[in-house]
Structures are given as C-alpha cells and as structure tokens.
Amino acid sequence: MSTATWLLPHLINGVALGLLFALIALGFMLIIGVMEVINLAHGSIFALGAYVALAIMAPDGGLPFAFMEPFYALPAWPRYAIALVVAPILVGAACMLLELCLRPTYGKDPLYGLLLTFGAALVIEEMIRVVWGSSEYYLPIPRDISGGFIFADLIYSTYRIYAAIFACAMIALLWFFLNRTPYGAVIKAGAHDNEMVRALGFNLSRLRLLVFAFGAGLAAIAGIIMAPIWGVRPVVGIDAVIPAFVIIVLGGVGSFWGAVTAGVLVGLAVALTAAFVPDWSMISMYLLLLAVVTFRPRGIAGRASILER
C-alpha cells in the first residue's frame, strides 16, 4: 500500500478537526470585529456547550428534573437534534451576561477585555466543576454516526466524516448569513466602523449583545460536535481556545476565508504530526504559527487590526 492511501484517514481527520477549529475561530473573530475584545473565555464557552448538550441528552450527567424523564425516553436522533439546537441557544443567552460585564472595558486598552474574559474563563470552568464535577463524560450520539467503516482496507471513523460535513455546512451557512443577508451587512459594518453604524441609527449596544451571543453559540455548537472526539472535561476549553487564537493570527484578522484556510492548515498539521510523531502533535501548530508570523506578521490574508494596538 502506498503512503498516500495510508495517509487518507489521517488527512480526513485533519480536515474535520481543522474545519471545527475554523468554526470556533470564526465566532471568535466576529467578537473581535464588533467588540474589539479578545474573548479568552471562548474555550470555556465551547466546553459549556458540550456540558449543556450532555444535560439535555443523557440521564447520566443530565438534569435531575422529573419533567425531563419522558424526554430522555425519546430515541437518540431527536434528542441529539434537539440538544444541537437548544444547547447553543441557551449558552448564547447565558453569555449575554458576560457581554454586559464587558461593557465597562469598551474603548479602553484591549488588555482589559482580555483580562476580564480570562477571569470569566476561570469562573465558567469552576462553575462546570461545581455542577458536573471533574470527571470525564462522553456525549452519547446516535448509532448511525458512530463507529467506523472499512474502505479499501483502511478504517475510517464515521463520526469524523459527519463532523467535517456538519462543520462545512455551518461555515457555508455562516458565510451566507454574513454576506447575503441585511443582518450580516450590519455586523460587517459594525466590525468596520462602530461609530458610523451608530450614526446610521442602529442600536450598537444591542448589536454587540447579539453578536456576542451569536459568537458564543457558534463556540457551543463546535463544542457539541467536538465532544465525542475529545470527551467532555472541564479543562477542554484551553484545547479549543488556543487553536482559535493560532488560526486567527495565521489566517489574518477579519478574513473569513483566511480563517477557514488557516483552520484546515492547523488541522492537517496536527493530524499529520499525530500520525508520524504522536508525542509532538500539539506543538506543530505553534511552530507553524511562529514560522508564518515571523515572515508574514499579519498572517495569510490579514489587514491592520485591533491586535496591533
């Protein structure tokens, strides 16, 4: 068997991972754009999404309320679909509270927003520990998308292919939303020039509240999709927020396709190093980052941004 075919499952894993990273990074980037805040709590929100989905889906690790009992009796597919829709909405709504806390930091040194969200990350992670404890959970998924299949003597994970397709669809929807709807136009305008958006009569405070909730919701969706791959642990947030950072810097702030490209690059780098030198799989993305940023300070497709202030 040639090396190329042997690599195929790893490449697919890498692309799936990269597209999910890109989804996290895009929500992160929306928040940077409209609020000029580096949301260090994004990883904790990602983890929270997985936990809330767990609470909705499973009797084990789920909500101990009696009214949930008939719901837990439903077959796996409807429960999964409902969790996938409801959990991000709940998380997004809860994160509106964080946006309200962020308001005093607007217009100041971006360092303050960064620090506030660092505090929020601690708080969210500790809340998760208080509610669910520190042990690891697995999000139950419908049988149709679990397991693996054999194609041309190689084992492929069904779930990762599903994850890649799902992430692709989400990214396409997001692109459509941002570029083909009036709401997207306002968000993009808000990222370009806050004052002008306000001057045109849009409610900037409400826009920020909604964009933050939307970005948080995207992180929560990514958290739910990633949960069966990474497991559900309180500390999983850091594993998610760091690639998002790396992707934003690699792809360039403000560039949609820059982030998607960088996401896939990072995913492939992680998956391929995992295939050849498993011990070093997580370091490869930092080396990629340091190499690219040393020679191209604004990343693949970046423009001048908040990050340089």
Partner: protein, 342 residues
Amino acid sequence: MSDARNPVGRWITLPILASFAVFGTLPYWVEAVGLYQYLGLEIMVWVIFALGYNLLLGYGGLPSFGHGAFIGIGAYAFGVAQFHFIPNLWICLLAAIIITGLCGLAAALLVSRRRGIYFALMTIAIGQVFFFIASKWTSVTGGEDGLLNIQRLPVDFGLFSIDIQDTASLYYLAFALYAVVVVLLWRLVHSPFGRILGAIRQNEERVRFLGYNVFIYKAIAFILSTMVAGLAGGLFAMAQEGAYIQIMNLQWSGTVVLMTLIGGGLVSFWGPVFGVVLYFIARDILGAYTEAWLLWFGLMFMLLVMFKPEGLAGIWRDTVGGLVRRKPAAAPSPHPNQSPAE
C-alpha cells in the same frame, strides 16, 4: 525630577523599608495569625517572580501570557545544575538565571517587534512550545513525573555555611534575594531605561521617531524579567524540593498576570506584591470553606477589572492616599496609560 525630597532616584525608599519590615519579620508572626511557614515562602517566591513580570506588564505595557514557562525553566535548570554539575547554591542559582535568560533571549528575538494582543498571542505560543519541550524531554526534565529530590543547598560563604533545610531558613534566603531584586528593580524602573520603557508603553511610534531602538529596549526588558523568573524558579525548586511541569502550563502563566493585575501592577510598583499576597491568602482562606475558591476569586477579579482596573493599589491610593495626601497637584491620574509611579 530628581530633587532630594523626591523618592525617584534613590536606592532605598520608605515603602521598600516597610516591605522589609513586614517580610523580614514574617516567620515570627505568620503562625500567630493562623497561617504557616511554607505559605510565607511561597509568597516570597511568587513576589519575586511577579515583580520581575511587572517590569514587562506594568512598565513596558507588554502583556506576556507565557511567563509561567520561565519560572519552570528556572526550576529545571536549578535541578539539572545540582544533579549534573556542582551542588553549590550560588552556582545553581546563577545557572537558573542564565539558562532562563538565554531562553528569554530566544523568545525576545521573536516577540520584541510586536505589541499589545499580538505580543500576548506570540508569548502564549512560545510558552506552549517550552511547555511541550519540557514535557517530552524526559531525560532532562523527568517528563510528567518531574525532577524529584532537589536539595535545599546550604548557603555557602566560603568560611562558613548556613544550613537551610527548614522552611523558615529557606524563607530568609528568599527574603534576602527579594531585598536585592526589589532594590535593583526599583532603581531600574526609575533609571533612564525605565523612563524609556514607560514611554514605549505610552507611545511606541513616538519613541522610535525620537531615535531610540525600541526593539532593543523591549528585548532587554523581556530578558531581565525572564532572569528574575529564573531566580524565582530556582527558589521554587528548593521550596518544593522538586521541579514539576504543571507550573509551566498556560493556567499559571495567566495566574501571574491575574496576580499582578489584581494588585494594581499597572499603576504601582508594589501592585504585584499586593496581588500575590491576596492570591495566596484567598487560596487558603476561601479554599478552607469551598473547593471552588477560584470561582469566587475569578468573580472578584472580574468585578475589579470592570470597576477598578487599577487594582488594590488603586483602591489603596484612593482611600489611604486621599486621606494623607500632601501635594494634591501631584496626584496621579487614574488614566490606564500612565506608568506605575511608586
């Protein structure tokens, strides 16, 4: 700026003496107030680390989020020097400082052209690279197990040597080194170098147009702060009698930022000291009541960033400083871009 009454420009000032009085007598009263000797030692080590870190954050305005790596490198370097070279305290501490400084130099070359959030992101990446190297380079660092059985080496003065096996004696070594570090740092931030660093924080472009090599100043500040971290790391290795990987992870790098900020490192030289003391006392007192003490500490931190970003030192200045203010005209403004004054 340098008239005789002005504390700026002196080597020893009243707040420095006050800090010596408090920390110098700590082993005698720490148990009377219900705490324990090792806590004092931990506070001393982290105070040294945070003071060095604040050279970067408070004075240079450079938010490094990877500094935990350097205290870790200091601890490993101390252990390795002890095991493989000479088990002499001064040489091992010097090795910790120099090796950490060299790693700091490598990092500084990569990050010193950046500022703000880019600087933060690059330092996260570098900190993670050091973390992964330390966790995989098992033959030197012991990997996940860490370096065990690091000795508390006697303080050797040639003619005689002092044994520092018990925690109180090691505390006094840390205190002596703190005294040296605090005086040198105080002098440094009030030197022309410190002034230029403060100017870079306020407006980097303008400093560059004035003809200063901004890159060199930022790099030197970075390297000096990592050398102080190396010293703290060496002490930490002796305190823990080992060097472990946990200290290098991102969480601890964030914690030192949190300590420095919560104390008010942005407006005061003493901010990091307040912050470290508050952090460890909160850990012990809140930790006695609840497992989730970080939840409450994190909430407190969020409230502080929202309503009082100048931290404890800012609160101190507004309350105590407001009562005993002698020259109202010189009252510092709470503007976040102002360099820490005293």
